[in-house]
């Protein structure tokens, strides 16, 4: 193989691949687990390593076949369960996710990046060339797509875990469910239902704090209101969100229109109900004579 050009790297990465190890896996009856990264912050896969009490017991039950963040061992696919973190932002990654899907029996996406495009999907609402010029002196040397897209826009996804980051309990549940061949029990409903369950006094009603709880998917355990702040929507839209009506309520409660737009345009800006909750685009490009860098 020639020296590591990017194409080679992509093929190498997706193929994982050590034939000797693959033979060994033939004797090993444990189901195989692979963890893949696309454009992301690593926070969702770190959640797996953060299952401190469960990690070694889990490693007894599944064979960690591919998880570069944790081990240099790499066993060739196919894999029984692939966990995918991150969004698709380059042409190579668009190809690599196809290879990952082809090698995976069950594919589960982790977090706002993989399920909605992540915070990097703010580019979808802006002039991406201009954004790149703000961060790099020579944006022409970078290879990237104009849009950051979720994994499900490219391949079939079996289960999705939301959140920025995902919840550790939900991760363990989905892995257990896949191993047991049953459907994972992931709560539906909004953050509001979790506030009620844990007995948190509504921060919107009692303190007038702007809160995205009514339109945001349950799952985190309503952490923010318990810390006396409004939910900022990191779990993304719940199944039946009424973003527009919440947006007008926030406005009526005194939130400036720009701040309402900003509130919906963070880690799940690429999710349709959040993107359309406030109408026109956020003015991400402030006219600035000095250009990008201060």
């Amino acid at each position: 193989m020639a020296m590591g050009g990017r194409t080679v790297t992509v093929a190498g990465r997706a193929a994982g691949a050590d034939p000797a190890a693959a033979e060994e896996v033939g004797r090993d009856r444990r189901p195989t687990l692979a963890v893949w990264k696309f454009a992301s912050c690593d926070g969702c896969q770190l959640t797996l390593l953060n299952c401190e009490a469960e990690l070694l017991a889990l490693a007894d039950r599944v064979r960690v076949a591919y998880f570069p963040e944790a081990t240099r061992a790499a066993v060739a696919g196919p894999y029984d369960l692939s966990l995918v973190e991150g969004s698709i932002t380059t042409a190579e990654d668009a190809e690599r996710i196809q290879q990952v899907r082809a090698q995976s029996r069950i594919l589960v996406t982790l977090g706002a990046c993989a399920t909605a495009g992540g915070i990097q999907a703010l580019r979808n609402l802006a002039d991406v060339a201009e954004l790149a010029a703000a961060a790099y002196p020579r944006p022409d040397r970078l290879a990237f797509l104009a849009r950051s897209t979720p994994i499900a826009s490219h391949v079939t996804v079996d289960h999705e875990l939301h959140g920025c980051p995902i919840d550790r309990g939900q991760l363990l549940e989905v892995v257990a469910a896949v191993l047991q061949g049953r459907a994972p029990r992931i709560p539906s409903g909004s953050v509001c239902t979790e506030c009620k369950r844990r007995g948190t006094v509504c921060v919107a009603v009692a303190d007038g704090l702007p809160c995205l709880g009514p339109v945001t998917r349950a799952g985190c355990g309503a952490i923010c209101p318990a810390h006396h702040r409004g939910c900022y929507g990191c779990f993304g839209p719940q199944d039946t969100p009424n973003g527009r009506s919440l947006a007008s309520l926030l406005g009526a409660a005194g939130m400036a229109p720009t701040d309402v737009v900003r509130a919906f345009r963070t880690f799940n800006a690429g999710a349709e109900p959040f993107r359309t909750a406030t109408g026109p685009a956020l003015p991400t490009s402030v006219p600035d004579a000095a250009g990008g860098r201060p």
Partner: protein
Amino acid sequence: MTVTGGSRELTVPMLARVEGEGGMHVVVQDGRAVDVQLRIFEPPRFFEGFLRGRSYLEPPDLTARICGICPVAYQFSACLAIEDACGVEVPEELRLLRRLLYCGEWIESHALHVFMLHLPDLLGYDGAIEMAADHRGVVESALRMKRAGNELMTVVGGRSVHPVNVRVGGFHRLPEPTELRALRPMLAAALDEALAAVPLLARQDYPDLEQPHLYVALDAGHGYPLESGAALQTSSGLRVPVAAFGTHVVEHQVGHSNALQGRFDGHPYLVGPLARYSLHHAALSPVAREAAAAAGLAPTCRNPFRSILVRLVELVFALDEALRIVDAWEGAPVAAVAVEPRAAEGHGATEAPRGLLYHRYRIDADGTILAAQIVPPTAQNQPAIESDLRSVVEGHLDLDDEALTRVCETAIRTYDPCISCATHFLRLTVDRR
């Protein structure tokens, strides 16, 4: 491996156990490493671009998402820069609470790196899970230490990855003194476990390598540098205000990398545990200094391979410091101070687990961000890492490709490079001609 003509090319599997996606390329010709590149493939996410037009209150939550391993570093560097722009300094109690939350991040990150990412290289395993087959006790102990950090972050920050409780001006909610006190047994047990690990790490073999890099770390003025500081200290004796960072550090974009590389007054330089330790050994707590001595470390360390020992010392320090703050905490008058916007520029720097993290923001009178600059540790260290790799390659040319590759991988991992930060898998290619 293919041998074609006079040139020898080797492609080896990607380097693992680093945060982010990148690779390394080495060209060896006539016994010299003629080209050494740490390649960063991590796709760019354009934070500095989309921060413009956002509110001055948003960077702590937004920039946390640059890195899931060190979100607190991003949150606090952002807070400091914005508070600086607005002419606000948080009260001492809130500074201490920030320091406590940051200790949690150091504990979590250092426990992960020392025992689960770096130690497998020393003991000859592919990773911590494989290592657990023979050293289950070591891995279980590491997981307990890591958990202590995560629990601390959960109590103070609301959760360990991307804490929700941090805001410009302070916190959303103050933890109760009883909540902090309840952390004591877990932190004390983790401190005992970190100290107990010193002999295991001290008796490993570390390759000899002395590197002359300029060291740069924050000078906190109040103990070992961590959550804040007004100036930078260098091993050449310079003391530079944080606001002057940009006049000394110039970032370059190089073709083989999606990250920018920083140079200090034109020279490769090093931030992180080795720099902090060597510049601020005297500021360590007595128990951390004793651990350093027991680990066989002099007050200055210039061998990157021994950075695992320095990280262990910092793990001891962070646990000790967390206990000190927890024991003394009696609450604060307010959870946060008001920070009113004004047209200004602000600078902020803190010590992420991997080193100095600098933020700069320019905001207008109503608090809209006009410009943002973020300089993460790995971008600053990249030229120094490349220079170390050159020394490592040239010092080990007698090794076959596989063994040489292992040494290079280990060398890269000693820096705990966070490529997610710098813009994750490394792919190592050695090209011998």
